[in-house]
Symmetry: C2
Subunit: 591 residues, 2 copies
């Protein structure tokens, strides 16, 4: 074939920034963002982003500089997803559940030049900046701080001179955005909270963000003019790409400072919400809402959720309230969902329990992934499509991250043999739908059998008195490894928890699990240890389990001092103090 | 930011071939293709494509070779859209309405190595190959011919030794497709039928085809599991990308040898068709169906149409039958639709006539176009969004063609100043929706005013006796140019056409058009001259109009011999003999 070279007309770098430009042109008068009494059109949002981008440039932000933000889902948080890359910079959204030390680490590691802070989070940011100041050497300057005052009810809280609305006001609406010359250029930097290691900075390219956005709209079949409730933090994989996706669809972003039952129901009813994404914990908040917090839901709300498969009963309750749930699986490194449990028309006729079982599977690859497979980690051979044989889930495609920022070792560990290794273990069902079984490092190998800790945990969670459960491997002289369960217990009517005994839990497991999967040891704890984002620290639990010594005599393990060991763990982790509900947030573990 | 290089896991070339691979994996048992008694699943279609690709390799087809096909919308025509690029080759689908000379020209220009021919088109192909043989020099070998016998009712017709099903049968199902290493590599080559010049070979890249496919699914909001009726030829911009799109959506392709009313209604009813694309002529076929050809349409069928805006009355009739029409604008060079008239919820409340008016606009850019604009051709300044000021429609984005094959001159003429010039003239309405007014070379400039020939033609078409109409510029001593109308007339009840007079048509136009737009001359013809694909040859009409001499005395132009000139034109064009309905196919002019 002829050599037909690329030119500016037929090879334009892919970037989500085109979605905003297009929205401003063709949906100019449609509502883009709503937040309490504040309301913008796409024309206005575009202009505000141009102004902010020009103001960032005037703060000496240049190409590839990092701009960090610590904020809930307020309008400014939405706008920076366009304004920061329009200034040529890279957006770093920081998880608001982190503590000051973590935040300081991220600010230092990313080398943030500007740090935008929501007014309510000023105390946390001040603390983080103080830690950063003591740690920062002469070579690394502290970021310029901009406070985002509440646009609906200004507080007057400041941290330095700069305020967000003032930057918008004094910006240039005729600013010409920094051109994206290479679609491989970075657009955002999102730190994952590791359970064992330092946070890692996941870098997305313009190309990856663009393609993921299209994929998610397609995979979820989101139609035009959606009204999208921001119940999912935008800092999670940039709102699983819907920060950009709502612009692509000309929809309305319903911003929300806190996902409380009252505020969610109120916005759903008043703004006529059509779509929302969330962690399963949000289901509980919606279901446990008090009567005065509830509002009737006029038209079905599409809900995309990730992480722990929602149990059938929960799904049915949600659907009866007017929510239509779709289940997805993803991870920060894959720019959010990589698998979506795409519904098939023929399943409509099945009984509810079977439907829920199908819906609980993680599903099939989104369109922009070139390939998904489940492979034996050693041989790299694909597992059979039998719904039983476990292997590691591996991904390939242009929606996978560029890599970990300043971490070549972790990057090269994640990318091997042309694949991205998720570290998640799953099976492929005969129909091609995948189901996640565990984190690869959490799989228990007992007598050559792979046991999914998640499977045992889900059985434990169904016990009426179990509040939290985590299962890890402990050494076993005969089987190599055996499951060891850590649980916390709900109080009984007398406010007690000590009436639940190990033997009862084991006997319950015997009834509900194959024998080889039954925990050989059950350890009770007041709270299961978690990191600040709510992920259970299984590495810590494994350390505890190491102390358990198997004794053939009493047909079970004994510990020199179980209570003490648990307590030690609790003490080690006392600096973390997540709210109880945050245990569930990790349900979004890989999202 | 860190330098994070691309790797095989996170930078995978974009190609529609992934859609088939994915469909075979996750929609393996769903019906992919239906044609009369033949029915395949996605697993089978994938295997058939692998087999065919391996057989093409065994015919010495190598990377970037051209494989041509001359076939209606039968299953083989669908399969080659994957199998040919899986062999590393470039697919050239030839318009079945062309004559033998045109086909020979395309075979020679493309250098086709293999030529697949549907059994019904063997006589035409034989003729084309004979012309090619006389023209081919020693340096250019004739293509290997493969006959595609009808898979439902084999005819036994052959042209040489090779038959399609035999190639599929003897192919290797374990064939590993040629890897797409560069998404800029060509995937298809589609010749446009020029009205004035030689056909031009439009080359699509894998990237362009991939992105256009996603765009069209998004723009049309096509949900999962569509049942798609092939009423649009796949050789038109590769079925406006739905050849690849139906695989992406895991849908069913309902193949169709001829879009007759009987076969369309039968398939819509029996296969429960949900979607179809077509030229407006198909509306007439559906509306004019005889009672025995009709079937009731149980659920609404989404119809995407392009070209001439469907009049309100036609739209209403279509909708009353159960078709829901969306209007688009595109061109071969833009891989099909570039603008889609995206419907807005608020328009639902408008009266039918206003709705039709809104729906008749060509609309807003598809998502993967980086930019669309309407510009003054001289100054390159954007026209105001007033719905009145005309300018040339220009496009930028990765869904625009690579260029014209072996035609650097035409390529560099089409790409200028970072834009692709469509050659179409339009306006932008205040809401950002665009409306096409004319081909730029067909605009009539009268006293400094731009007059759209299409606008005059659409008024003429509404006259009850006008069968066909075409308007071109003729010289005018005062205004520079004036409109000149050519029309053919429907017979009256006595079977006559000569009762319609020029004065009546001009007086009718005076009532329905601004004075300056009224044709100064009306010329009657038995048939308006067209090229083999049904495009009206305005260049020929302009040549005729040149002979008209304006005479101030009779306040109208006179011609030395109008009839003679028309006849001459008719004689010149006698080798073209399009069916009358093909005049309307050009309504898809730019698609």
């Amino acid at each position: 074939m002829d050599c037909l070279p690329k030119c500016e007309a037929n090879y334009v770098p892919l970037t989500p920034l085109t979605f905003l430009k297009r929205a401003a042109s063709v949906y100019a008068d449609r509502t883009s963002v709503v937040y309490e009494s504040a309301r913008f059109t796409w024309g206005q949002t575009h202009e505000r982003c141009l102004r902010l981008a020009s103001s960032l440039r005037s703060l000496n932000v240049v190409k590839n500089d990092v701009v960090s933000i610590l904020a809930p889902n307020v309008p400014a948080m939405y706008e920076v997803h366009f304004a920061v890359p329009m200034a040529g910079a890279v957006l770093n959204t920081i998880n608001t559940r982190l503590n000051a030390t973590n935040i300081a680490t991220i600010l230092r590691h990313s080398g943030a030049k500007v740090f935008l802070v929501d007014c309510e989070l000023v105390p946390l940011a001040r603390e983080a900046l103080a830690i950063l100041a003591t740690a920062v050497s002469g070579s690394c300057a502290a970021p310029q701080v901009v406070v985002i005052d509440d646009i609906d009810s200004p507080t007057g809280v400041r941290l330095g001179d700069l305020e967000y609305e003032e930057l918008v006001r004094r910006g240039d609406p005729a600013y010409v955005p920094e051109e994206v010359r290479d679609e491989w250029d970075p657009i955002t930097l999102n730190y994952t909270s590791g359970t064992t290691s330092e946070p890692k900075g996941v870098v997305y390219s313009h190309r990856g963000a663009y393609l993921s956005t299209l994929s998610l709209i397609l995979g979820w079949e989101m139609r035009g003019e959606p009204v999208y409730l921001w119940s999912l933090p935008m800092f999670h994989c940039n709102g699983w790409t819907f920060t950009w996706g709502i612009a692509a669809r000309g929809g309305t972003n319903v911003c929300l400072r806190n996902p409380t039952a009252l505020d969610m129901y109120r916005n759903i009813a008043e703004q006529r919400v059509t779509h929302m994404c969330c962690a399963p914990i949000i289901f509980n908040i919606l279901l446990e809402a008090k009567p005065h917090e509830r509002r009737e839901i006029a038209a079905p709300v599409e809900v995309l959720t990730g992480g722990a498969p929602p149990p059938a009963a929960l799904l049915q309750m949600m659907e009866s309230l007017g929510f239509h749930v779709t289940h997805a699986y993803g991870l920060t490194e894959a720019t959010g969902p990589a698998l979506v449990c795409e519904w098939q028309a023929k399943w409509d006729r099945l009984p509810a329990a079977e439907k829920a079982e199908l819906k609980a599977r993680q599903g099939i690859s989104i369109l922009t992934l070139a390939d998904v497979d489940v492979k034996h980690a050693d041989t790299m051979r694909s597992v059979p499509r039998d719904g039983k044989t476990m292997g590691e889930i591996v991904l390939r495609g242009s929606s996978i991250m560029k890599g970990y920022y300043k971490d070549p070792e972790a990057t090269s560990k994640a990318f091997r043999d042309g694949w991205f290794f998720t570290g998640d273990v799953g099976v492929v069902h005969p129909d091609g739908y995948m189901e996640i079984k565990d984190r690869s490092k959490d799989v228990i190998i007992s007598g050559g059998e792979n046991i999914s800790s998640v499977e045992i945990e889900s059985v434990l969670y169904r016990h009426p008195r179990v509040r939290e459960a985590a299962v890890v491997a402990m050494a076993h002289p005969r089987w190599g490894e055996s499951p060891c369960a850590f649980i916390s217990v709900k109080k009984n009517s007398a406010g007690k928890t000590d009436d639940v005994k190990e033997a009862e839990i084991i006997s319950y497991c015997r009834k509900n699990l194959p024998h080889f999967m039954v925990p050989k040891k059950v350890e009770f704890m007041a709270d299961i240890p978690k990191n600040p984002t709510g992920k259970i620290l299984k590495a810590q639990l494994r350390a505890v389990a190491k102390n358990f010594v198997w004794s053939e005599n009493n047909n079970g393990p004994s510990s020199s001092s179980d209570k003490k060991t648990s307590k030690e763990v609790a003490t080690d982790l006392s600096r973390y103090n997540p709210a109880p509900q945050e245990q569930q947030v990790l349900a979004l573990s890989r999202l």
